[in-house]
């Protein structure tokens, strides 16, 4: 596995996706996933600015100013893709038609609450589609490093940053481990290669059950 924690997280999160699923990818680590998916993975990528069937980055000669993803980066559209307006796109999201949202977070709580749009004391002026996605997607997978740059754990007993939604997260993938919310309880289900339970405990301030899977 890659030694770059972001690649490692993205690669593990990619394994959570099943063929045929409709997947929305947030900015940052989730956007590394398309480069890690096998062509046979068979997932369809939705971007909330109005496209189902996002393809790879365009070559220079394929650049189209009318074709971007929600991060405002140029993309391509695969055969079988479709375009729609923003109300339709968010009806798909709120209406439960998106199987999986993979997105970053600042904090996730022991109850699956998520904070990923605003830092206290800073500007709270950009929410975009974050709230719609975590509420509407059928499965929410958070990809984030286990600790912030100041070393503070990001899996916490309770979010102290402004909430995006309550009890919305299903899976947390960090560079150390995988957590799953089961019946509202936070469970450690996997240690990534070479990681010890102690390392996870040190990097996590939330209480969790240990239910490691073989």
């Amino acid at each position: 596995m890659s030694s770059d924690p972001r690649q490692r997280i993205a690669a593990r999160a990619a394994q959570e996706l099943r063929p045929g699923e409709i997947v929305n990818l947030g900015i940052g680590i989730p956007n590394l996933i398309p480069g890690l998916l096998a062509p046979a993975a068979g997932v369809f990528i939705h971007t909330e600015n109005g496209l189902l069937g996002v393809g790879p980055r365009p070559r220079d000669e394929e650049l189209d100013p009318d074709l971007i993803d929600a991060a405002k980066r140029p993309v391509t559209a695969l055969l079988g893709a479709s375009y729609f307006d923003s109300a339709d796109s968010f009806a798909m999201i709120r209406g439960g038609h998106i199987d999986v949202a993979v997105l970053g977070a600042l904090q996730v709580s022991a109850l699956g609450d998520i904070a990923n749009w605003a830092v206290p004391g800073k500007d709270v002026l950009g929410v975009g589609g974050a709230m719609d996605l975590v509420v509407g997607a059928r499965r929410v997978i958070v990809t984030m490093t286990a600790t912030a740059s100041n070393g503070e754990p990001k899996v916490v007993p309770e979010c102290t940053y402004p909430l995006t939604a309550r009890a919305a997260v299903d899976v947390i993938v960090t560079e150390l481990s995988v957590f799953r919310l089961r019946g509202g309880a936070l469970c450690l289900t996997e240690l990534l290669d070479g990681v010890t339970l102690d390392q996870v405990r040190q990097a996590t301030s939330a209480p969790f059950r240990v239910e490691l899977e073989a």
Partner: protein
């Protein structure tokens, strides 16, 4: 719109008055009616505007130009952050900001155009963005009451129009444009290409002409 084709951008934006609420299409600059925005910046004196747009442009680009002129009193958007100058204006008390989750923002515009008086969504419940809003349980899930958005004037961009004002959008340049076209007293459409009536296949018309009041040809960007 009755057949007659395009008017000048200056003539069209003269319909915008001081104090108006103006919807502006686009996701960032993609699908934004840049010719109409330039005309509003260069040829109109209307000020004290409320702008309904997903972003307030970028620094010095699109609606960012109008912001620099100090003509926006209030912004209703989901992502001000894409223009740091808009964020600075809010922090300096020069711009009032109303932030909505993007799907709620889109649906509020759709509701405004469709004669819907309000709607409940689970999105935002229990967060900062629901403060001061009515919340009720629907099927045991907290939902937030959101109000429709309407405007005096909508500025939209479509890649193609016919001379009646039927519109066709291209790829992800569609975004908020078809919604905004329905939700204003006056809709001004900027088109990349204006075809004779019949030039758009009836089945491919995305915004029927009844929503469109003025048509303006896009100036090469």
């Amino acid at each position: 719109m009755t057949a007659g084709g395009a008017v000048s951008a200056a003539e069209a934006v003269a319909l915008i008055r001081t104090g108006d609420t103006v919807m502006v299409g686009g996701f960032g600059l993609v699908g934004a009616p840049l010719t109409l925005i330039d005309a509003l910046v260069e040829e109109s004196d209307a000020t004290d505007l409320t702008i309904v747009s997903n972003n307030i442009g970028e620094p010095g680009k699109g609606l960012g130009k109008l912001l620099r002129q100090g003509r926006i009193r209030c912004g209703i958007a989901s992502f001000f952050t894409s223009n740091p100058e808009a964020v600075a204006a809010v922090n300096a008390g020069q711009l009032e900001a109303k932030l909505l989750p993007q799907g709620t923002f889109a649906e509020a515009i759709r509701a405004g155009g469709a004669g819907i008086g309000g709607f409940y969504v689970p999105v935002g419940a229990g967060t900062l963005l629901a403060e001061g809003k009515e919340t009720r349980l629907i099927d045991d899930v907290p939902h937030v009451l959101e109000w429709p958005l309407r405007a005096d004037v909508a500025l939209v961009y479509a890649a193609r129009a016919d001379e009646l004002g039927n519109l066709w959008y291209r790829r992800t340049a569609r975004n908020f444009n078809p919604l905004m076209a329905t939700a204003a007293a006056i809709t001004i459409a900027e088109a990349g290409e204006i075809l004779p009536v019949g030039g758009l296949e009836a089945e491919s018309v995305m915004t029927p002409h009844l929503y469109v009041d003025r048509l303006v040809a896009r100036r090469e960007q």
